[in-house]
Protein backbone atom coordinates (compact mmCIF):
# COMPACT_ATOMS: atom_id res chain seq x y z
CA UNK A 1 0.00 0.00 0.00
CA UNK A 2 1.46 3.32 -1.07
CA UNK A 3 0.31 5.83 1.54
CA UNK A 4 2.56 8.66 0.34
CA UNK A 5 1.14 12.03 -0.61
CA UNK A 6 2.81 15.15 -1.99
CA UNK A 7 1.89 18.28 -0.06
CA UNK A 8 3.18 21.76 -0.67
CA UNK A 9 6.83 21.00 -1.34
CA UNK A 10 7.04 17.85 0.83
CA UNK A 11 6.53 14.14 0.18
CA UNK A 12 4.82 12.71 3.26
CA UNK A 13 4.96 8.99 4.15
CA UNK A 14 1.22 9.15 4.88
CA UNK A 15 -1.46 11.87 4.88
CA UNK A 16 -2.01 12.12 8.66
CA UNK A 17 -0.52 14.81 10.91
CA UNK A 18 -1.54 16.67 14.07
CA UNK A 19 -3.30 20.06 13.98
CA UNK A 20 -1.46 23.02 15.44
CA UNK A 21 -2.08 23.60 19.15
CA UNK A 22 -3.18 20.04 19.89
CA UNK A 23 0.25 18.45 19.75
CA UNK A 24 3.59 18.83 21.51
CA UNK A 25 6.72 17.09 22.71
CA UNK A 26 4.72 15.34 25.44
CA UNK A 27 2.86 13.33 22.76
CA UNK A 28 6.07 11.33 22.27
CA UNK A 29 5.17 9.64 25.57
CA UNK A 30 2.03 8.22 24.04
CA UNK A 31 2.65 7.58 20.34
CA UNK A 32 5.54 6.91 17.98
CA UNK A 33 6.07 10.26 16.24
CA UNK A 34 7.92 8.54 13.40
CA UNK A 35 4.64 6.94 12.32
CA UNK A 36 3.08 10.33 11.43
CA UNK A 37 3.08 12.01 8.03
CA UNK A 38 4.41 15.24 9.56
CA UNK A 39 4.71 16.97 12.94
CA UNK A 40 2.99 20.34 13.30
CA UNK A 41 3.86 22.57 16.25
CA UNK A 42 1.55 24.85 18.16
CA UNK A 43 1.70 28.39 16.79
CA UNK A 44 4.89 30.16 17.81
CA UNK A 45 4.91 33.94 18.25
CA UNK A 46 7.72 36.53 18.06
CA UNK A 47 7.76 37.08 21.84
CA UNK A 48 6.59 35.04 24.86
CA UNK A 49 2.84 35.31 25.39
CA UNK A 50 0.80 34.74 28.58
CA UNK A 51 -2.35 33.59 26.77
CA UNK A 52 -5.96 34.25 27.76
CA UNK A 53 -7.62 34.06 31.16
CA UNK A 54 -9.13 30.82 32.43
CA UNK A 55 -11.27 28.87 31.97
CA UNK A 56 -9.92 28.32 28.48
CA UNK A 57 -11.99 25.34 27.47
CA UNK A 58 -15.66 24.37 27.52
CA UNK A 59 -17.19 21.22 26.17
CA UNK A 60 -20.14 21.48 23.78
CA UNK A 61 -22.18 18.86 21.96
CA UNK A 62 -19.67 16.79 19.94
CA UNK A 63 -17.12 19.57 20.19
CA UNK A 64 -15.27 22.01 22.36
CA UNK A 65 -14.61 25.73 22.60
CA UNK A 66 -11.10 26.97 23.33
CA UNK A 67 -9.55 30.35 23.92
CA UNK A 68 -5.96 29.48 24.77
CA UNK A 69 -4.73 32.72 23.19
CA UNK A 70 -1.50 31.21 21.84
CA UNK A 71 0.43 31.00 25.12
CA UNK A 72 4.06 30.25 24.41
CA UNK A 73 7.67 30.99 25.01
CA UNK A 74 8.38 32.85 21.76
CA UNK A 75 10.54 32.08 18.72
CA UNK A 76 13.99 32.39 20.38
CA UNK A 77 13.31 29.73 23.01
CA UNK A 78 11.45 27.68 20.41
CA UNK A 79 14.43 27.52 18.04
CA UNK A 80 16.78 26.82 20.95
CA UNK A 81 14.74 24.12 22.77
CA UNK A 82 11.94 22.73 20.65
CA UNK A 83 13.44 22.39 17.17
CA UNK A 84 16.36 20.20 18.44
CA UNK A 85 13.87 17.91 20.21
CA UNK A 86 12.03 17.23 16.93
CA UNK A 87 15.28 16.73 14.98
CA UNK A 88 15.43 13.32 16.68
CA UNK A 89 12.46 12.20 14.61
CA UNK A 90 12.32 11.51 10.89
CA UNK A 91 8.81 12.90 10.24
CA UNK A 92 9.14 16.40 8.73
CA UNK A 93 8.66 19.28 11.15
CA UNK A 94 6.15 21.96 10.19
CA UNK A 95 6.35 25.08 12.34
CA UNK A 96 3.15 27.09 12.75
CA UNK A 97 3.87 30.82 13.00
CA UNK A 98 1.57 33.58 14.24
CA UNK A 99 2.15 37.34 14.54
CA UNK A 100 0.27 40.62 14.94
CA UNK A 101 1.48 42.51 11.86
CA UNK A 102 2.74 41.62 8.38
CA UNK A 103 6.29 42.79 9.14
CA UNK A 104 6.37 40.77 12.35
CA UNK A 105 5.17 37.77 10.36
CA UNK A 106 8.05 38.21 7.90
CA UNK A 107 10.67 38.53 10.67
CA UNK A 108 9.22 35.51 12.42
CA UNK A 109 9.29 33.41 9.24
CA UNK A 110 12.91 34.30 8.72
CA UNK A 111 13.80 33.41 12.36
CA UNK A 112 12.00 30.09 11.99
CA UNK A 113 13.95 29.19 8.85
CA UNK A 114 16.52 26.98 10.57
CA UNK A 115 17.86 23.45 9.94
CA UNK A 116 15.35 20.83 11.06
CA UNK A 117 12.31 22.82 9.92
CA UNK A 118 10.75 21.40 6.74
CA UNK A 119 7.92 23.90 6.16
CA UNK A 120 6.11 26.83 7.76
CA UNK A 121 2.38 26.90 8.42
CA UNK A 122 1.31 30.52 8.46
CA UNK A 123 -1.56 30.95 10.92
CA UNK A 124 -3.30 33.84 9.18
CA UNK A 125 -6.48 32.96 11.07
CA UNK A 126 -5.15 34.92 14.05
CA UNK A 127 -6.23 38.55 14.66
CA UNK A 128 -4.55 41.23 12.49
CA UNK A 129 -3.70 44.25 14.61
CA UNK A 130 -3.45 46.41 11.48
CA UNK A 131 -7.05 45.61 10.57
CA UNK A 132 -8.97 46.14 13.81
CA UNK A 133 -8.33 42.59 15.01
CA UNK A 134 -10.11 40.91 12.10
CA UNK A 135 -8.12 37.90 11.01
CA UNK A 136 -5.97 38.18 7.86
CA UNK A 137 -7.69 35.21 6.29
CA UNK A 138 -11.09 36.90 6.43
CA UNK A 139 -10.00 39.16 3.61
CA UNK A 140 -8.26 38.40 0.26
CA UNK A 141 -6.32 41.70 0.17
CA UNK A 142 -4.87 41.27 3.67
CA UNK A 143 -4.12 37.61 2.97
CA UNK A 144 -2.13 38.47 -0.14
CA UNK A 145 -0.28 41.31 1.58
CA UNK A 146 0.90 39.27 4.57
CA UNK A 147 1.78 36.14 2.57
CA UNK A 148 3.82 38.08 0.00
CA UNK A 149 5.94 39.47 2.82
CA UNK A 150 6.36 36.04 4.38
CA UNK A 151 7.16 34.51 0.98
CA UNK A 152 10.00 37.00 0.51
CA UNK A 153 11.40 36.22 3.97
CA UNK A 154 11.93 32.45 3.67
CA UNK A 155 12.81 29.73 1.18
CA UNK A 156 10.82 27.09 3.09
CA UNK A 157 7.54 25.71 1.71
CA UNK A 158 4.64 27.84 2.99
CA UNK A 159 1.29 26.45 4.08
CA UNK A 160 -1.38 29.09 4.69
CA UNK A 161 -3.92 28.19 7.38
CA UNK A 162 -7.30 29.67 6.51
CA UNK A 163 -10.18 30.63 8.76
CA UNK A 164 -13.73 29.35 8.28
CA UNK A 165 -14.97 32.69 9.66
CA UNK A 166 -15.23 34.44 6.29
CA UNK A 167 -17.72 34.83 3.49
CA UNK A 168 -14.85 35.09 1.00
CA UNK A 169 -13.28 31.64 1.41
CA UNK A 170 -12.44 30.91 -2.23
CA UNK A 171 -11.18 34.46 -2.88
CA UNK A 172 -8.92 34.20 0.19
CA UNK A 173 -7.67 30.81 -1.04
CA UNK A 174 -6.86 32.27 -4.46
CA UNK A 175 -5.11 35.25 -2.87
CA UNK A 176 -2.93 32.87 -0.85
CA UNK A 177 -2.08 30.90 -3.97
CA UNK A 178 -1.24 34.08 -5.87
CA UNK A 179 1.05 35.24 -3.02
CA UNK A 180 3.07 32.05 -3.35
CA UNK A 181 1.61 29.66 -0.77
CA UNK A 182 2.56 26.04 -1.51
CA UNK A 183 -0.48 24.56 0.23
CA UNK A 184 -3.59 25.58 2.16
CA UNK A 185 -4.75 24.25 5.52
CA UNK A 186 -8.56 24.35 5.65
CA UNK A 187 -9.36 25.32 8.32
CA UNK A 188 -8.95 26.80 11.78
CA UNK A 189 -11.71 26.83 14.44
CA UNK A 190 -15.17 28.39 14.02
CA UNK A 191 -15.78 31.46 16.19
CA UNK A 192 -18.38 30.47 18.76
CA UNK A 193 -19.74 30.95 22.25
CA UNK A 194 -21.37 29.04 25.12
CA UNK A 195 -23.17 30.38 28.19
CA UNK A 196 -23.65 28.71 31.57
CA UNK A 197 -27.33 29.17 32.40
CA UNK A 198 -26.79 28.69 36.14
CA UNK A 199 -24.21 31.48 36.48
CA UNK A 200 -25.57 33.40 33.42
CA UNK A 201 -21.99 33.98 32.32
CA UNK A 202 -19.98 32.90 29.26
CA UNK A 203 -18.41 29.49 29.84
CA UNK A 204 -14.91 30.60 28.86
CA UNK A 205 -12.92 33.47 30.29
CA UNK A 206 -12.41 35.12 26.91
CA UNK A 207 -16.22 35.12 26.24
CA UNK A 208 -15.79 33.87 22.65
CA UNK A 209 -13.64 31.00 21.47
CA UNK A 210 -12.95 28.60 18.65
CA UNK A 211 -15.22 25.61 18.10
CA UNK A 212 -13.51 22.36 17.09
CA UNK A 213 -14.24 18.65 17.12
CA UNK A 214 -16.68 16.31 15.30
CA UNK A 215 -19.44 18.98 15.31
CA UNK A 216 -17.61 21.10 12.70
CA UNK A 217 -16.64 18.36 10.25
CA UNK A 218 -19.48 18.71 7.69
CA UNK A 219 -18.86 22.47 7.46
CA UNK A 220 -15.13 22.10 6.87
CA UNK A 221 -15.56 19.20 4.40
CA UNK A 222 -17.76 21.55 2.36
CA UNK A 223 -15.07 24.24 2.56
CA UNK A 224 -12.38 21.82 1.38
CA UNK A 225 -14.61 20.78 -1.51
CA UNK A 226 -15.13 24.43 -2.55
CA UNK A 227 -11.49 25.43 -2.07
CA UNK A 228 -10.21 22.47 -4.07
CA UNK A 229 -12.18 23.72 -7.08
CA UNK A 230 -10.78 27.23 -6.74
CA UNK A 231 -7.01 26.60 -6.52
CA UNK A 232 -4.33 24.33 -8.00
CA UNK A 233 -2.16 23.98 -4.87
CA UNK A 234 -2.72 21.04 -2.47
CA UNK A 235 -5.14 21.30 0.44
CA UNK A 236 -4.79 19.89 3.93
CA UNK A 237 -8.20 19.20 5.47
CA UNK A 238 -8.65 19.92 9.18
CA UNK A 239 -11.80 19.84 11.28
CA UNK A 240 -13.46 17.19 13.40
CA UNK A 241 -11.54 14.15 12.18
CA UNK A 242 -12.03 11.19 14.54
CA UNK A 243 -11.68 8.13 12.31
CA UNK A 244 -10.16 6.76 9.12
CA UNK A 245 -13.48 7.34 7.34
CA UNK A 246 -13.50 11.01 8.40
CA UNK A 247 -10.00 11.42 6.97
CA UNK A 248 -11.03 9.65 3.74
CA UNK A 249 -14.01 11.98 3.42
CA UNK A 250 -11.59 14.90 3.34
CA UNK A 251 -9.40 13.19 0.71
CA UNK A 252 -12.44 12.47 -1.46
CA UNK A 253 -13.53 16.13 -1.12
CA UNK A 254 -10.15 17.20 -2.50
CA UNK A 255 -7.66 17.30 0.37
CA UNK A 256 -4.21 15.77 -0.18
CA UNK A 257 -3.60 15.30 3.55
CA UNK A 258 -5.37 15.81 6.88
CA UNK A 259 -4.74 17.21 10.32
CA UNK A 260 -6.23 15.79 13.51
CA UNK A 261 -6.82 18.19 16.42
CA UNK A 262 -9.40 17.75 19.16
CA UNK A 263 -9.57 14.00 18.76
CA UNK A 264 -6.00 13.69 20.03
CA UNK A 265 -7.45 14.77 23.39
CA UNK A 266 -10.17 12.13 23.25
CA UNK A 267 -7.82 9.33 22.21
CA UNK A 268 -4.09 10.16 22.28
CA UNK A 269 -3.42 7.21 19.96
CA UNK A 270 -6.10 8.37 17.46
CA UNK A 271 -3.74 9.36 14.63
CA UNK A 272 -2.22 5.86 14.53
CA UNK A 273 -5.67 4.28 14.41
CA UNK A 274 -6.70 6.66 11.62
CA UNK A 275 -3.66 5.70 9.51
CA UNK A 276 -4.38 2.00 10.03
CA UNK A 277 -8.06 2.44 9.13
CA UNK A 278 -7.19 4.35 5.93
CA UNK A 279 -4.83 1.56 4.90
CA UNK A 280 -7.46 -1.08 5.62
CA UNK A 281 -9.99 0.85 3.53
CA UNK A 282 -7.59 1.11 0.61
CA UNK A 283 -6.83 -2.61 0.77
CA UNK A 284 -10.53 -3.46 0.94
CA UNK A 285 -11.27 -1.29 -2.09
CA UNK A 286 -8.27 -2.42 -4.14
CA UNK A 287 -6.73 1.05 -4.08
CA UNK A 288 -2.95 0.77 -4.46
CA UNK A 289 -2.07 4.45 -4.02
CA UNK A 290 -3.95 6.46 -1.39
CA UNK A 291 -3.25 9.59 -3.49
CA UNK A 292 -5.60 8.18 -6.17
CA UNK A 293 -8.52 9.00 -3.85
CA UNK A 294 -7.77 12.75 -3.71
CA UNK A 295 -10.75 14.68 -5.06
CA UNK A 296 -12.58 11.52 -6.18
CA UNK A 297 -15.90 12.99 -4.99
CA UNK A 298 -15.46 16.21 -6.98
CA UNK A 299 -18.23 16.65 -9.57
CA UNK A 300 -16.58 18.00 -12.68
Amino acid sequence: MDMRVAVGGLMLQNPVMPASGTFGEEMAQVIDLNALGALVTKSVTPLPRMGNRSPRVAETMAGMLNSVGIQGKGITAFVRDTVPFYREFQSPLVVSVSADTADEFADLASSATVPGVAALEVNISCPNLEDDGRSYAMDPVQTRRVLEKVRAATRLPLWAKLTPNTGALTEVAQAAEAAGADALVVANTILAMAIDVETRKPKIGNVMGGLSGPAIKPIIVRMVYQTARAVRIPIIGCGGIASGNDALEYLLAGASAVQVGTYNFVQPTAMLTIIAEMEAYATRHGVTRIADLIGAAQQM
Binding site: A28, S54, E88, F265
Partner: protein, 303 residues
Protein backbone atom coordinates in the same frame (compact mmCIF):
# COMPACT_ATOMS: atom_id res chain seq x y z
CA UNK B 1 15.24 3.12 57.62
CA UNK B 2 12.11 1.62 56.13
CA UNK B 3 10.70 5.09 55.65
CA UNK B 4 13.67 6.30 53.63
CA UNK B 5 13.57 3.35 51.28
CA UNK B 6 9.86 3.94 50.67
CA UNK B 7 10.57 7.47 49.56
CA UNK B 8 13.32 6.35 47.25
CA UNK B 9 11.24 3.72 45.58
CA UNK B 10 8.32 6.13 45.26
CA UNK B 11 10.51 8.71 43.59
CA UNK B 12 12.01 6.11 41.28
CA UNK B 13 8.59 4.94 40.26
CA UNK B 14 7.47 8.48 39.67
CA UNK B 15 10.54 9.25 37.59
CA UNK B 16 9.82 6.19 35.49
CA UNK B 17 6.24 7.38 35.10
CA UNK B 18 7.33 10.84 34.06
CA UNK B 19 9.63 9.42 31.37
CA UNK B 20 12.46 11.77 32.15
CA UNK B 21 10.39 14.84 31.64
CA UNK B 22 11.79 18.17 32.70
CA UNK B 23 12.21 18.50 36.46
CA UNK B 24 9.79 20.57 38.49
CA UNK B 25 12.19 23.50 38.51
CA UNK B 26 12.04 23.85 34.75
CA UNK B 27 8.29 24.20 34.45
CA UNK B 28 6.42 26.89 32.61
CA UNK B 29 8.10 28.65 29.75
CA UNK B 30 11.50 27.17 30.49
CA UNK B 31 10.61 23.61 29.57
CA UNK B 32 13.73 21.92 28.27
CA UNK B 33 13.80 19.55 25.36
CA UNK B 34 14.41 15.95 26.26
CA UNK B 35 15.31 13.14 23.92
CA UNK B 36 14.44 10.74 26.74
CA UNK B 37 10.77 10.69 25.80
CA UNK B 38 11.35 8.70 22.63
CA UNK B 39 9.97 5.30 22.05
CA UNK B 40 7.62 5.14 25.05
CA UNK B 41 4.77 4.22 22.76
CA UNK B 42 1.33 3.90 24.26
CA UNK B 43 2.75 3.52 27.75
CA UNK B 44 0.29 5.95 29.30
CA UNK B 45 -2.78 4.62 27.49
CA UNK B 46 -4.23 1.82 29.59
CA UNK B 47 -7.32 -0.32 29.90
CA UNK B 48 -8.41 -1.03 33.47
CA UNK B 49 -10.78 -3.80 34.48
CA UNK B 50 -13.62 -2.65 36.73
CA UNK B 51 -13.60 -4.61 40.01
CA UNK B 52 -16.50 -2.72 41.55
CA UNK B 53 -18.26 0.61 41.18
CA UNK B 54 -20.48 1.34 44.16
CA UNK B 55 -22.61 4.24 45.26
CA UNK B 56 -21.39 5.10 48.74
CA UNK B 57 -23.63 8.08 49.54
CA UNK B 58 -26.21 10.27 47.82
CA UNK B 59 -23.65 11.90 45.55
CA UNK B 60 -20.49 9.83 45.77
CA UNK B 61 -19.28 6.68 44.06
CA UNK B 62 -16.30 4.44 44.76
CA UNK B 63 -14.72 2.85 41.68
CA UNK B 64 -12.00 0.19 41.83
CA UNK B 65 -10.11 -1.00 38.75
CA UNK B 66 -7.45 -3.58 38.17
CA UNK B 67 -4.56 -1.84 36.38
CA UNK B 68 -1.24 -3.25 37.62
CA UNK B 69 1.07 -1.20 35.36
CA UNK B 70 -0.67 2.06 36.21
CA UNK B 71 -0.86 1.21 39.91
CA UNK B 72 2.88 0.49 39.98
CA UNK B 73 3.68 3.82 38.35
CA UNK B 74 1.20 5.98 40.25
CA UNK B 75 2.12 8.39 43.06
CA UNK B 76 -0.21 10.23 45.49
CA UNK B 77 -1.69 13.36 43.91
CA UNK B 78 -1.39 12.14 40.33
CA UNK B 79 -4.53 11.76 38.24
CA UNK B 80 -5.97 9.69 35.42
CA UNK B 81 -7.83 11.01 32.42
CA UNK B 82 -10.85 8.75 32.04
CA UNK B 83 -13.00 8.06 29.00
CA UNK B 84 -16.55 8.07 30.33
CA UNK B 85 -18.42 6.94 27.21
CA UNK B 86 -17.15 5.24 24.08
CA UNK B 87 -20.00 6.49 21.87
CA UNK B 88 -18.74 10.07 21.71
CA UNK B 89 -20.85 11.37 24.62
CA UNK B 90 -19.25 13.03 26.42
CA UNK B 91 -16.49 13.84 23.95
CA UNK B 92 -13.71 14.80 26.32
CA UNK B 93 -12.22 12.66 29.05
CA UNK B 94 -12.70 13.49 32.74
CA UNK B 95 -9.77 14.01 35.13
CA UNK B 96 -9.93 12.01 38.39
CA UNK B 97 -7.25 11.90 41.00
CA UNK B 98 -6.41 8.57 42.47
CA UNK B 99 -8.02 7.87 45.86
CA UNK B 100 -6.30 4.62 46.83
CA UNK B 101 -3.25 2.95 45.32
CA UNK B 102 -2.87 -0.76 46.08
CA UNK B 103 0.34 -1.71 44.33
CA UNK B 104 0.53 -5.22 45.74
CA UNK B 105 -2.95 -6.02 44.38
CA UNK B 106 -2.47 -3.98 41.17
CA UNK B 107 -5.51 -1.84 41.99
CA UNK B 108 -6.42 1.81 41.64
CA UNK B 109 -9.44 3.33 43.33
CA UNK B 110 -11.32 6.53 42.52
CA UNK B 111 -13.87 8.40 44.63
CA UNK B 112 -16.08 10.71 42.61
CA UNK B 113 -19.12 12.91 42.87
CA UNK B 114 -21.78 12.54 40.18
CA UNK B 115 -22.10 16.03 38.67
CA UNK B 116 -22.94 16.01 34.99
CA UNK B 117 -22.88 13.82 31.89
CA UNK B 118 -19.36 12.42 32.33
CA UNK B 119 -19.63 11.29 35.93
CA UNK B 120 -23.18 10.02 35.27
CA UNK B 121 -21.72 7.76 32.56
CA UNK B 122 -18.88 6.74 34.87
CA UNK B 123 -21.46 5.63 37.45
CA UNK B 124 -22.93 3.22 34.88
CA UNK B 125 -19.77 1.08 34.78
CA UNK B 126 -20.31 -2.45 36.06
CA UNK B 127 -17.97 -5.10 37.44
CA UNK B 128 -16.10 -6.67 34.52
CA UNK B 129 -16.42 -3.61 32.23
CA UNK B 130 -13.25 -2.05 30.89
CA UNK B 131 -12.22 1.53 31.61
CA UNK B 132 -10.13 3.43 29.08
CA UNK B 133 -7.66 5.48 31.12
CA UNK B 134 -4.65 7.68 30.34
CA UNK B 135 -2.16 8.04 33.17
CA UNK B 136 -0.78 8.39 35.72
CA UNK B 137 -0.47 12.07 34.83
CA UNK B 138 0.98 15.18 36.42
CA UNK B 139 3.14 15.90 39.43
CA UNK B 140 1.86 14.57 42.74
CA UNK B 141 2.56 15.41 46.39
CA UNK B 142 6.04 15.35 47.91
CA UNK B 143 6.62 13.96 51.40
CA UNK B 144 9.87 14.58 53.23
CA UNK B 145 11.21 11.72 55.38
CA UNK B 146 12.36 14.18 58.09
CA UNK B 147 8.85 15.43 58.71
CA UNK B 148 7.30 14.45 62.05
CA UNK B 149 3.71 15.24 61.22
CA UNK B 150 1.54 16.67 58.43
CA UNK B 151 -1.89 18.28 58.49
CA UNK B 152 -4.35 17.45 55.70
CA UNK B 153 -7.32 19.77 55.22
CA UNK B 154 -9.77 18.82 52.50
CA UNK B 155 -13.30 19.43 51.41
CA UNK B 156 -15.74 17.57 49.16
CA UNK B 157 -14.05 15.58 46.41
CA UNK B 158 -10.73 16.94 47.69
CA UNK B 159 -11.03 14.26 50.36
CA UNK B 160 -10.36 11.66 47.67
CA UNK B 161 -7.20 13.35 46.44
CA UNK B 162 -5.63 13.41 49.90
CA UNK B 163 -6.35 9.72 50.59
CA UNK B 164 -3.07 8.38 49.17
CA UNK B 165 -1.10 11.09 51.01
CA UNK B 166 -2.32 9.71 54.33
CA UNK B 167 -1.32 6.20 53.26
CA UNK B 168 2.15 7.21 52.02
CA UNK B 169 2.87 9.37 55.08
CA UNK B 170 1.87 6.52 57.37
CA UNK B 171 4.26 4.15 55.56
CA UNK B 172 7.03 6.69 56.06
CA UNK B 173 6.32 7.03 59.77
CA UNK B 174 4.94 10.56 59.43
CA UNK B 175 2.00 11.31 61.70
CA UNK B 176 -1.14 12.41 59.85
CA UNK B 177 -3.84 14.70 61.21
CA UNK B 178 -6.74 15.23 58.81
CA UNK B 179 -9.53 17.77 58.94
CA UNK B 180 -12.31 16.58 56.67
CA UNK B 181 -14.95 19.08 55.60
CA UNK B 182 -18.21 18.35 53.79
CA UNK B 183 -21.83 19.45 53.48
CA UNK B 184 -23.13 16.61 55.59
CA UNK B 185 -21.66 13.85 57.76
CA UNK B 186 -22.65 11.29 55.10
CA UNK B 187 -20.38 12.93 52.52
CA UNK B 188 -17.20 12.46 54.58
CA UNK B 189 -16.39 9.25 52.78
CA UNK B 190 -12.69 8.92 53.11
CA UNK B 191 -12.71 9.09 56.91
CA UNK B 192 -12.60 5.35 57.48
CA UNK B 193 -9.88 4.93 54.83
CA UNK B 194 -7.80 7.72 56.36
CA UNK B 195 -8.22 6.14 59.81
CA UNK B 196 -7.20 2.75 58.45
CA UNK B 197 -4.05 4.52 57.26
CA UNK B 198 -3.38 5.61 60.82
CA UNK B 199 -4.57 9.20 60.42
CA UNK B 200 -6.17 11.08 63.28
CA UNK B 201 -9.33 12.55 61.69
CA UNK B 202 -11.57 15.46 62.60
CA UNK B 203 -14.84 15.98 60.76
CA UNK B 204 -16.49 19.36 60.21
CA UNK B 205 -19.74 19.88 58.32
CA UNK B 206 -22.01 22.64 57.07
CA UNK B 207 -24.90 20.84 58.79
CA UNK B 208 -23.22 21.09 62.16
CA UNK B 209 -22.07 24.66 61.45
CA UNK B 210 -18.45 23.69 62.13
CA UNK B 211 -17.01 24.21 58.63
CA UNK B 212 -17.06 28.02 58.40
CA UNK B 213 -13.83 29.98 57.96
CA UNK B 214 -13.76 31.33 61.53
CA UNK B 215 -14.33 27.90 63.07
CA UNK B 216 -11.74 26.36 60.75
CA UNK B 217 -9.19 29.00 61.60
CA UNK B 218 -9.57 28.24 65.29
CA UNK B 219 -9.45 24.48 64.77
CA UNK B 220 -6.35 24.60 62.57
CA UNK B 221 -4.63 27.07 64.94
CA UNK B 222 -5.24 24.69 67.84
CA UNK B 223 -3.84 21.73 65.92
CA UNK B 224 -0.76 23.67 64.84
CA UNK B 225 -0.19 24.84 68.42
CA UNK B 226 -0.53 21.42 70.00
CA UNK B 227 1.02 19.02 67.47
CA UNK B 228 4.35 18.83 65.67
CA UNK B 229 3.16 19.69 62.14
CA UNK B 230 5.85 20.27 59.50
CA UNK B 231 3.70 20.72 56.39
CA UNK B 232 0.12 21.43 55.27
CA UNK B 233 -1.77 19.72 52.44
CA UNK B 234 -5.07 20.81 50.97
CA UNK B 235 -7.51 20.13 48.15
CA UNK B 236 -11.07 20.90 47.18
CA UNK B 237 -11.81 24.44 48.35
CA UNK B 238 -10.51 27.85 47.33
CA UNK B 239 -11.69 29.24 50.66
CA UNK B 240 -9.73 26.66 52.66
CA UNK B 241 -6.70 27.09 50.41
CA UNK B 242 -6.68 30.83 51.09
CA UNK B 243 -7.04 30.23 54.84
CA UNK B 244 -4.22 27.67 54.96
CA UNK B 245 -2.00 29.88 52.82
CA UNK B 246 -2.35 32.64 55.37
CA UNK B 247 -1.80 30.36 58.38
CA UNK B 248 1.19 28.59 56.78
CA UNK B 249 2.80 31.92 55.89
CA UNK B 250 2.36 33.25 59.44
CA UNK B 251 4.13 30.19 60.82
CA UNK B 252 6.71 29.73 58.07
CA UNK B 253 5.36 26.26 57.22
CA UNK B 254 5.54 24.74 53.73
CA UNK B 255 2.38 23.49 52.08
CA UNK B 256 1.02 21.85 48.96
CA UNK B 257 -2.35 22.24 47.25
CA UNK B 258 -3.96 20.07 44.55
CA UNK B 259 -5.94 22.13 42.04
CA UNK B 260 -8.64 21.49 39.47
CA UNK B 261 -9.10 23.17 36.11
CA UNK B 262 -11.07 22.15 32.99
CA UNK B 263 -8.80 20.26 30.63
CA UNK B 264 -8.29 19.55 26.95
CA UNK B 265 -5.45 17.11 26.42
CA UNK B 266 -4.46 16.26 30.01
CA UNK B 267 -0.92 15.67 28.72
CA UNK B 268 0.54 19.17 28.71
CA UNK B 269 0.33 20.05 25.02
CA UNK B 270 -2.75 22.29 24.65
CA UNK B 271 -2.47 24.92 27.45
CA UNK B 272 -6.23 24.75 28.10
CA UNK B 273 -5.78 24.06 31.83
CA UNK B 274 -3.53 27.03 32.60
CA UNK B 275 -3.98 29.39 35.53
CA UNK B 276 -1.74 32.08 37.01
CA UNK B 277 0.64 31.36 39.90
CA UNK B 278 2.67 33.73 42.04
CA UNK B 279 6.24 32.50 41.66
CA UNK B 280 9.53 34.06 42.70
CA UNK B 281 10.06 35.30 39.15
CA UNK B 282 6.61 36.91 39.05
CA UNK B 283 3.22 35.74 37.78
CA UNK B 284 3.52 32.60 35.68
CA UNK B 285 0.86 30.80 33.65
CA UNK B 286 1.23 27.12 34.50
CA UNK B 287 -0.54 23.98 33.34
CA UNK B 288 -2.55 22.23 36.04
CA UNK B 289 -2.29 18.90 34.18
CA UNK B 290 1.47 18.91 33.76
CA UNK B 291 3.11 21.42 36.08
CA UNK B 292 0.57 20.33 38.73
CA UNK B 293 -2.05 19.34 39.74
CA UNK B 294 -0.11 19.71 43.01
CA UNK B 295 1.52 23.12 43.53
CA UNK B 296 3.35 24.80 46.40
CA UNK B 297 0.62 26.30 48.61
CA UNK B 298 2.26 29.73 48.63
CA UNK B 299 2.18 29.99 44.80
CA UNK B 300 -1.55 29.36 44.38
CA UNK B 301 -3.65 32.40 43.45
CA UNK B 302 -7.14 31.71 44.80
CA UNK B 303 -10.20 33.14 43.10
Amino acid sequence: MGAVSTVRSMNDVRKAAMRELPERETRGFSESASGGMRGQSESLAQIGGVLFNQQVSTRYWHLAVSAPTAAAACAPGQFFYLRCGDDGEPLLRRPMSVYQIHRERGELHFLYAVKGVGTTRLAQLRTGDSLDMVGPLGHGFTLHPDWRGVLLVARGVGLATLGPVAAAANRMGIRVTAVLSAQTERDVLSESYMRSCGACTLVVTDDAGTSGVAAMRELVANILASEPIDALFTCGSQRLTALLQEMAAERGLPGQAALEEPMGCGLGVCYCCVRPFARKEGIEQLRVCRDGPVFPLAEVITR
